[in-house]
Symmetry: C2
Subunit: 200 residues, 2 copies
Amino acid sequence: MLTSHQRKNDPEALRARLLDCAASLITEEGLPALTLDKVARLAGVSKGGLLHHFASKQALIDGLFAQVVAWFNGRVDALIAPDRNASARFSRAYLAVIAAIDMDEPEQRRLAVLILMLSSDPHHCARWNAWVEARLERHRSTDRSPLARTLRLAADGLWLSELGGGPDSGLEARSQVLGFLESLGSGTALSLATAKAGEP
Amino acid sequence: MLTSHQRKNDPEALRARLLDCAASLITEEGLPALTLDKVARLAGVSKGGLLHHFASKQALIDGLFAQVVAWFNGRVDALIAPDRNASARFSRAYLAVIAAIDMDEPEQRRLAVLILMLSSDPHHCARWNAWVEARLERHRSTDRSPLARTLRLAADGLWLSELGGGPDSGLEARSQVLGFLESLGSGTALSLATAKAGEP
DNA sequence: GTAAAAAAACCGTCTGGACGGTATGTCTTG
DNA sequence: CAAGACATACCGTCCAGACGGTTTTTTTAC
C-alpha cells in the first residue's frame, strides 16, 4: 500500500502520472481508443480528479504533446552542445536522437510512439512543424543543405518504420542504415559518431 | 439540387464516391474524427444508404485501405517493368512513386494521406507491413542492400513530411533530396531518372 | 502557535449528445 | 413481381464534461 500512514498529497506527481498513463494507453490501444475513464482508472483516481488537473481531454493530449516535444528538444540540445562539427549539426542530432531510441524501453517507446499518434492529427502536426521550423531557423547557417534535409527525412522514415514494426525496423536494419549514412558522410565532412553515444 | 429529374442509379459510382468522401474527410479532419454520418452527408446519401454498401465502419475503412494499396502496388509495378537496372529496383520504384505524388492534386494527396492515417492504427499498420514484406520477398535478390533500405526510409520520411506540410515538403525540397540521392547513387549504379517520369 | 477561513485537490453521479448499428419501409430496375 | 438500392426512424452504448459534495492543504488572523 502506498497510502499507508502519510498522505503526501503531491498533485504534481499525480499530474505526471496521469500524463504517463495516458501515454501508456495510447501506445497500447491507439489514440482514438483513449478515454478519460481509462486514464483515470489506470492512474487510480476518479474522472473528476483527472478533470481537475486537465480541463478537457484536449488539454490532456496537449500536455502530453508538450512534454514529448520538450523531451525531444532537450535530447537534441544535449547532442548539439559537444558537437565540434558544424555541418548539418542539428539534422545529425535529430537523426541521432531518433536512432538512439530504444524501442524495448517502455518509456522511450512511449515517447516515440506518441508523436506519430499525435501527428495523425493535423492540429498537432502543425505544432510539430512549428517546432522544427523554429529550430531550423536557429540553425539556418548549418542545416540547409540537401544532405541535411535527407538526413532528417531518413530519420523520419526510420522513426515511422520503427514504430510500425516494419521490415526496416529493428537493431540490425537500423545499424545498417546508420552505417550507410555514416560512410556516405565520411566523404562530405559528416560524422554520425556522436549518434551512437547514449547519455553523457 | 442534384436529384433533379433523372435518377441514373449507378450503385458502383456511389460506392466509389463514398470511398472518395471518406478519404476526403480523413485528410481534412483525421481518421478519429471520421463518422458515418459525415461520410453519408458529404456523399449526399443517407446513413442507411452508406451501410448498404459497407456493412460497417470498419468495412468502409478496409475498403479504402485496399484501394490505396492496390493503387500503390500498380504504380510500383508500372515503374519496375521498364527498369533495366536491377539494383534496388523495387526500392527505387517505391521512392519514385512517393516522390512523384503531386500534393496539389486532390486525388493523389488523398491517397497519400490515407496510409499515414491508417498507419496510426496498429491493425492497418500490420497490413501495410505485410504488403511491403511480400514485395520484398519478391525482390529479395535486388533489394536487400543498406542502400535499398535507406532509399525506402527516405521515401517514408519524404512522404510523412509531405503529408504534414513540414519544412522539408514542397517541390523545391523534394527535388533537392531527389537530386542528392541521385548523385549519391551515380557512384553505385543507382539511377532515379525514372522517378521523374509521370505516366507512361 | 493555533484556530478560522479560504483554496485547492479529489470523489461519485448524472446527463446530454454523438455515434455505430438495426429494422422497416419505399421506390426503382430488370 | 422479385431483388437490389436507398431512405427514415429508431435503439443501445459509450463517453466527455458538468455538478455538488468531501477531504486535504495553505493562507490568514489573532
